[in-house]
Symmetry: C2
Subunit: 414 residues, 2 copies
Amino acid sequence: MKTIELIGQKAKRAGRILATSKGEEKNKALEAIASALRQNTSAILKANKLDLENGRAAGLTDALLDRLALDEDRVESMAKGVEEIAMADDPVGKVLWGSTRPNGLKIQKVSVPLGVVAVIYEARPNVSSDAAALCLKAGNAVVLRGGKEAINSNKAIVDILRQALKGAGLPIDCLQLVEDTSRESANALMKSDRYIDVLIPRGGAGLIKAVKENSTIPVIETGMGNCHTYIEKSADLDMALEIVLNAKTSRPSVCNACETLLLDRHIAKAALPPLYQALSAASVTLKGDESTKAILPEILQAGEDDWGREYLDLTLSVKIVKGIDEAIDHISQYGTGHSEAIITSNYGASEKFLNQVDAAAVYVNASTRFTDGGEFGFGAEIGISTQKLHARGPLGLADLTSQKYLIYGQGQIR
Amino acid sequence: MKTIELIGQKAKRAGRILATSKGEEKNKALEAIASALRQNTSAILKANKLDLENGRAAGLTDALLDRLALDEDRVESMAKGVEEIAMADDPVGKVLWGSTRPNGLKIQKVSVPLGVVAVIYEARPNVSSDAAALCLKAGNAVVLRGGKEAINSNKAIVDILRQALKGAGLPIDCLQLVEDTSRESANALMKSDRYIDVLIPRGGAGLIKAVKENSTIPVIETGMGNCHTYIEKSADLDMALEIVLNAKTSRPSVCNACETLLLDRHIAKAALPPLYQALSAASVTLKGDESTKAILPEILQAGEDDWGREYLDLTLSVKIVKGIDEAIDHISQYGTGHSEAIITSNYGASEKFLNQVDAAAVYVNASTRFTDGGEFGFGAEIGISTQKLHARGPLGLADLTSQKYLIYGQGQIR
């Protein structure tokens, strides 16, 4: 794949210049990008219309078409997102640590850009401007490779962004789109470790798996969320009901939504009927284990494969457990390390759950839906990391940087 | 590879227990490990003798045999190393950040163990105790896979360490050795992302490349160092000579040794003859580009492939450059992002080099040999990371941890 190699080379060259650009230069470019998005809304919507027509002809689901669709409000919110990133604190050039060694060497650890970041994503065209703006703010050249469904929208958006970058005096190749949406081009991109420093996949399980298996570039894994809510026996059942309802139904298609309810057997009989009533009223389908079905015979039977599933819709699996240890074991076996919650009024249970559950975000008495860069106060996020290396949880601007050591000597030898 | 899967399962189970062990339990185990190493020195040396005999019979080089060899002093220093790690500050459970959100949610970001760490290494058996102790201190279960040359030494050492762990009340499977040293077992290990959270290769270019290409586990790349020293035109030439001599000759086989000298053309004629004299006296072979050979006709000619080589011996390539921009370009093209130095008395040149050179450690007026956990004041290190994700530079205990967010709520929904 000659094209991918060429893109990589250009990105690396542009990235070297961008890496030492001043914060005010980057911010000026981001403001130019925001205005350009607003000024070119009609061109973006025209390209998007083409994608939607092709999508309908290809028989895409309504859910996918909705993710693909842009309108004036969505373009405006893309522009606003870029402006917010421009206003954020510059994550580059921070002195993270420093020391003067006994031999007089002065060492400083400073934050620096990662270099070139590639983002592979699926149908949402707004990712193009969000991801680009976050990477650029952190001083990284960015290579975008969106899904074929959104190719016309992505081309239009990236073209507008590149012109704005150029107008603001930054190298145009700080931002490039891989226009070839074949599997071969994705594979070639994943092997471009000579030019690309970090690869971020944003999408479903299939994409994440392909990237993990094929990439020779360090990856930040994002977005897989098989999240649990465990109602411990001492829980306030009204609070538990509100939280489960929120975690399942407020936005079922996202990664921080609840997929499995774990319920202490001591309170199952009291808790299940009102939960069933409230969840059914919100169109949630329950799938229960045998003990759950003994109390609610009318619900579906959960199979072994239900426990590992990220439904991403209005389905909730329900399991009755003996107590907190079984709940933690179940989460350890089936969870994806995203967000896990316990509802309890017991101090010991809350501490045990917080300490022993191994996930990016562990909650006591709150909805898992809060795992989000904005809700955590980080501003825009490029995804939720479910891996343990580099960054875990919502990825903010600081997570798009690396570090280097600067050493000031006076002739020291060892 | 059933065996590897079984090792992974055991490690994951043991790691869950170790992850929530108290600091004093881990320290007690490390102290037990140090005593056990001392008490069993003769058993270790006996096993090591067998490896050395096999190695000689297999025709290993003297350099490799030296890396493989243990004696009483080396075992004592392994024990001392473990004791130092026991005394170090616990990297787990630190509150790294915290915030109370407007809705009352209290969020804390705390350091947690990575989980299960696998280390693939080559002939040095002391890595077995160093790597194990560092990983255990950071609360990680560890899977070691050393080279076949050291298998008897590694078996003896790991067996002693496991018994000590057990005696100290920690799960014995917190530490396991992959005894099968075939390529198949290494490959199976690299694909065990279900059980292993992080893979750290320690060894030469071939090993690092194999891991990058085959691993589905997140990797921390270590140890490749094609380091440069650039003598800028304003340099104090006496200082430059001392630093180059030290960086090349104090320990040529390690990754922070200097491999290429870049020399400003304005001072080449004055600087080269004394450099040549001093380096020759230290048995260094010079390989120069054409301009260097014009001044020192007696040295070898450097070919294009010399610039990318990590000699790891007493060879130094020399290139004359037009100025700092060409020096930085050369480093950008051929460097491995490990350690790079400028020798200068000019403020602007020092700042430009520090800002524009993209490497883990960038030096002004000091030897690249200082890139080392001990020299930086971090204590023992598990390697020098040359990648940009997670950690860059000497890897200390804190780099063997991940993070999680603990969220304390009172019924919040979104």
